[in-house]
């Protein structure tokens, strides 16, 4: 499965919040072109891993290597410039901008126009702006969002806003996309569609995705590789079928967050787990 060299290599990552150990000596290796799912009960440290990669949390120790680059010494904006983009659980859209403007703004790191060249929209800055618009429209088309191009982002329904958040990460032609619960609050049919879309987008853009998700249907359908976390440590890792049917993982969900989530795990994971596992293996 992972015959290429890893795109993202996390080694011995440890994060403390006060006296609490949020992440404990975590090792992860994410291959180029993978859809990599991080699962685990609430508070397991999934978002913290994402925040370490994008730079919002500074780990106590460990290393994160992106391609040939060591990420931890870099500022957040520099990491974005390397081609890492992400979504947020609370979306963090540029709410008063239109969807198109959101996608233009997201391309900040890919564009070069500075204050002086921005004074007059001719030559370089005009060409660059036109390219940025083309890319934005292409991405909107890819996600079926063209009807919303000129709508104010903050006024859209939550489901559409979620998609805009994803579009914002894809418009930058990213090497690595971090999605924080892209299926939160989604209806069953939409989740199925999202799963196929994630694969489609990945193939279309040739990128790598790290997805945090509670929805096991999505993980099952979309992920190539799954890592389950609990209390900041790795519980299990492997193909979706193997990990989701792992007794330890089921225990973590059952023991920690009650019937609702565990229902999802047992009902959707157990019956189909073996078949997917076999198919992939």
């Amino acid at each position: 499965m992972t015959n290429t060299s890893p795109l993202l290599q996390i080694q011995g990552l440890t994060v403390h919040f006060g006296g609490l150990v949020a992440i404990n000596a975590l090792d992860l290796s994410i291959a180029s072109g993978q859809i990599f799912a991080l699962v685990g009960p609430n508070g397991a440290g999934k978002t913290t891993v994402l925040n370490c990669i994008s730079g919002f949390v500074r780990p106590a120790s460990g290393a994160i290597r992106f391609g040939e680059t060591e990420l931890l010494p870099l500022g957040r904006d520099r990491r974005a410039a390397l081609g890492i983009s992400r979504t947020f659980q609370n979306l963090q859209l540029f709410a008063s901008m239109t969807v198109l403007e959101n996608l233009l703004t997201a391309q900040h790191a890919q564009l070069r126009t500075g204050l002086v060249r921005a004074l007059l929209p001719v030559g370089f800055s005009a060409r660059e702006e036109a390219q940025a618009r083309t890319r934005a429209h292409e991405t909107l088309a890819l996600l079926d969002l063209q009807p919303y191009a000129d709508a104010v982002a903050g006024a859209l329904p939550f489901g559409i806003q979620q998609l805009v958040g994803v579009a914002r990460t894809l418009v930058v032609r990213p090497r690595l996309v971090l999605l924080d619960e892209p299926a939160a609050g989604m209806a069953h049919a939409d989740v199925e569609r999202l799963a196929s879309n994630l694969r489609h987008w990945r193939d279309e853009l040739g990128t790598t995705l790290v997805v945090i998700e509670h929805n096991m249907r999505l993980v099952q359908d979309a992920a190539d590789h799954v890592c389950a976390l609990n209390y900041g440590s790795k519980l299990a890792e492997g193909t979706p079928g193997v990990v989701l049917s792992d007794p330890g993982v089921q225990e973590a969900y059952l023991g920690r967050s009650g019937i609702g989530t565990s229902g999802v795990v047992s009902s959707s994971a157990s019956p189909s787990a073996t078949s997917v596992g076999e198919g992939e293996g």
Partner: protein, 305 residues
């Protein structure tokens, strides 16, 4: 040494006045999110009201005082209903500008009502000329009164906010509006009470300042308002003792600098000029903020991602 003690004492007294105003500023800011630049005017109008009571119907000081404090409470409540309520849902900056507009309106109304107070008038109190001398330090009765009232207001406010149901409800409103509303706190009544209470503090400060300087007019509190704001921010904008201490620090710094710089020149520059003093105070204030961006006693805000 005695001169130093005297200056220190006077600094604490002036600082207490800044601190009192800072208390009211923080009270309103924490609960309603209004940076109240009309606060000085509110205090000044209360003091002017007392002056009018004492000069017009010739009511004595000790009867005029409770009447004025009652007036302050009502005045604060009226301002809240007529002014603060309509702008409550606008952004913080808009609210701040709105209070400036309010100050202009209130001052104009007061000037129409009491034209004699457009100029400085003598504010007479029973304490004029009363003073003590302790170890060489000269303490006027008004100075003592200012310290006493400040201590009482501080203790009274903190007791009220921690010990009474009403006070706890007020703090809940300040901490989290939505949660307070869910818990059944009558939020709208709380806003009214906070404005009334802070107007009371402003009125007290106005009366004390007028008693100390023995003169007043409608705009006499404007100059100290900015320094009170500096004190409030220095204290962290979210703690009442912090605001008081912030105000006192400013007062002491102002008086000490005046002593240190008096009569000195730097080349052609007269550094005892109040301008230099102001520059140094504000410069120091900015330095403190750089070292502690949330003020001396403020809690650092965490950013959630």
């Amino acid at each position: 040494m005695v001169a130093f003690a005297q200056v220190l004492f006077e600094g604490i007294v002036t600082g207490s006045l800044y601190g009192l105003l800072a208390l009211g500023i923080v009270l309103i800011y924490r609960t309603t999110g209004v940076l109240n630049f009309a606060y000085g005017t509110i205090g000044a109008i209360c003091a002017c009201f007392m002056y009018i009571l004492m000069t017009g119907p010739r009511i004595g000081f000790w009867l005029a005082l409770p009447l004025t404090l009652l007036f302050a409470l009502v005045f604060g409540a009226v301002v809240e209903r007529l002014f603060a309520r309509p702008v409550m849902h606008t952004p913080v900056f808009t609210k701040a500008i709105a209070t400036l507009a309010l100050a202009l309106v209130l001052q104009t109304i007061a000037m129409q009502l009491w034209p004699q107070l457009t100029q400085a008038e003598h504010f007479s109190t029973p304490f004029e000329g009363m003073a003590l001398r302790i170890g060489g330090v000269y303490i006027s009765a008004v100075d003592g009164l200012i310290l006493g009232v400040t201590a009482l207001v501080m203790i009274g406010l903190s007791q009220f906010l921690t010990r009474t149901r009403l006070g706890v409800a007020m703090r809940a409103t300040a901490d989290n509006l939505a949660v307070a509303r869910l818990m059944g706190v009558p939020v709208s009544l709380m806003f009214l009470l906070v404005w009334a209470l802070s107007a009371l503090v402003a009125g007290l400060t106005g009366i004390l300042l007028a008693s100390q300087s023995q003169i007043l007019d409608i705009q006499f509190m404007d100059p100290i308002l900015i320094l009170a704001f500096v004190g409030a921010v220095l204290g962290g904008l979210d703690s009442l003792p912090g605001a008081l201490i912030g105000g006192i620090v400013i007062g002491v710094a102002d008086n000490l600098l005046a002593l240190l710089l008096a009569g000195h020149t730097l080349g052609a520059l007269n550094i005892s000029d109040p301008g230099i003093r102001e520059t140094l105070i504000f410069g120091g204030f900015v330095l403190v903020l750089l070292l502690r961006p949330q003020g001396l006693f403020g809690r650092a805000l965490l950013r959630r991602v």
